[in-house]
Amino acid sequence: MNFYCKCSNLCSLPPSLSSSSGVRIQYERIGSDVTMQCGTLGSDASITWKVNGSDVDTSVLEGPNLILRNVTLSYNGLYSCFEDSSGDLQDQISLRIGSPPREPVVTCRSNTYPKGFYCTWYLPFPTYIPNDFELTALQNTKEIECQRDAVHKNKCHLKFYQMFSSLKYKVTVTAKNALGKSSATITFDEFSIVKPDPPEKVTAKPIPDNPRRLEVAWQTPSSWPEPDTFPLKFFLRYRPLILDKWQHVELSDTNSHTITDACTGKEYIIQVAAKDNDIGTWSDWSVPIHATPWMEELKPPTNENQPPLITTTTSSSSVPPQSPSYQVSATTRNSATTIPRTVSLLLGITIFLFI
């Protein structure tokens, strides 16, 4: 924060009290006319102005004052004035052009019902100069305290002191800067701002031997404090990557679901959203996950790097080369053993499924 003081009586030299850098900040509105004064020097003083170290065109001078008209952001800079006779630096002003704040946009949300809620805000139009914000929250006439977020400077946390309140909450955010202030108020019911965070750890797994199924599972968002007392219901949506139309399923009392109408062999995109069973709105969609249903293997489940069975058998069934009789018998042995291996594997899976 910068401080500056102006001597108003019996002044000879400008007071030297200022910030450590000795520069005072002057804020002015975009498009306004600005008068830069050199310290407390009288109107008969002879002074020279410099902007960011460069000389200033004398046409903008009016006696010892520097007049700037219809200022824009390009006028930002360090203005210095020097007394002509001594050449001493008399004053340094950092000029910052900006605007007073326009009405902020305020949103409040409870993702931790019934513990509390938070409000966030932003300025839809830039001011180009530093702004301060203040939040006040009322329920009827009672003021509720809010805790500023440690990380996000435009966020404040509040508690619900009571549940099932019929009194609306009234939240006002005031934006203030050196050129003015503006505030916005929103009014809402306790229930209308409830919106959980999206479900977490969403997974989708293919199910062996089921080419049209996918097993989807997820977890209640960790920010939801009371999932037993305030259970969530879920909304699942999925579609093949190549199509635009989503399939939807609404689910309660469960954290998993089996998709049974997946298209064979297609990669799917899946998302889940959460909502309190009775109040509030749906959460945002969870981060999309991709999964493909199980597909039957066309080659035997041996070493994948081995050349396909077909070429091996053809080579063995074709007229065997004379020389490597050992090799031929080796390949025929291979083809002879791999077929029973596939059968035994399928048999094993079938038995396993029936247990």
Partner: protein
């Protein structure tokens, strides 16, 4: 010789405890009748909540501004303090035992229904009156449903709260005398305000009841074994 009274006292005590345990109904929240009742009541609160949201917005539009302004947030006037408020501290609400939870719901809706009936009688628009009459019937159904949950859990049916408090019965002109205003008819604006708050509290109660019955439903799952806490109340 001196041991005998001690032993007999102990035996008597054990017998009494045993009989008491046997006498306690084995059902409580795991009783399937109770579960069905609870689910039905939960569904009814959802139905009523849905009906009320449409009906209330129609009525508030009929009353006109500022009542139909979504941001309308007036201070509470003394006259409506007899309307039971659903507002409660979270820990208190969570800690309510099942019987009290049900009794609070039963009492609240009984009072709310009475006020709603009075309000409906004073309505000049016949179509609105018809809709509200229908809603009152459904609300009565909810009250009956709550009572049946209490019975299925072995609790005695609660006394009718209006009789207990000595509030006079249904009568047209004296309707808002219940609200404690002066002997002359209350101003139209104040009456509209009362209607606004009645519908508001009713809406909040229906939201709360959904949570209450959901909680009862959860506690009726076999693994929660809530038997230890809930002996039926004996006169």
């Amino acid at each position: 010789f001196s041991l005998f009274p001690g032993i007999s006292a102990l035996v008597t005590f054990l017998l009494a405890a045993l009989l008491n345990t046997l006498a306690v109904p084995a059902m409580n929240l795991t009783d399937p009748t109770a579960k069905v009742s609870i689910q039905k009541t939960y569904d009814l609160t959802k139905y009523l909540e849905h009906q009320l949201s449409t009906l209330a917005s129609t009525y508030l539009n009929y009353l006109g501004p500022p009542f139909n302004d979504p941001d309308f947030s007036p201070p509470r006037v003394n006259g409506t303090t007899q309307i039971p408020s659903a507002t409660v501290d979270f820990e208190l609400w969570r800690g309510l035992n099942d019987r009290l939870r049900l009794v609070e719901n039963y009492r609240a809706y009984s009072v709310l229904l009475r006020y709603l009936e009075l309000m409906t009688q004073d309505l000049s628009c016949p179509e609105l009156r018809r809709h509200f009459n229908h809603f009152c019937t459904s609300l009565q159904g909810l009250i009956v449903s709550i009572a049946s949950v209490m019975t299925s859990l072995g609790y005695p049916p609660p006394a009718h709260p209006l009789r207990v408090r000595g509030v006079p019965g249904v009568s047209g002109g004296g309707a808002w005398a219940l609200a404690g205003t002066a002997s002359s008819a209350p101003s139209t604006f104040l009456k509209k305000m009362d209607d606004f708050w009645l519908l508001k509290e009713l809406q909040i109660w229906l939201w709360r009841s959904a949570k209450d019955f959901n909680r009862l439903k959860k506690r009726s799952l076999p693994q929660t074994a809530a038997v230890h806490n809930h002996r039926p109340h004996r006169h």
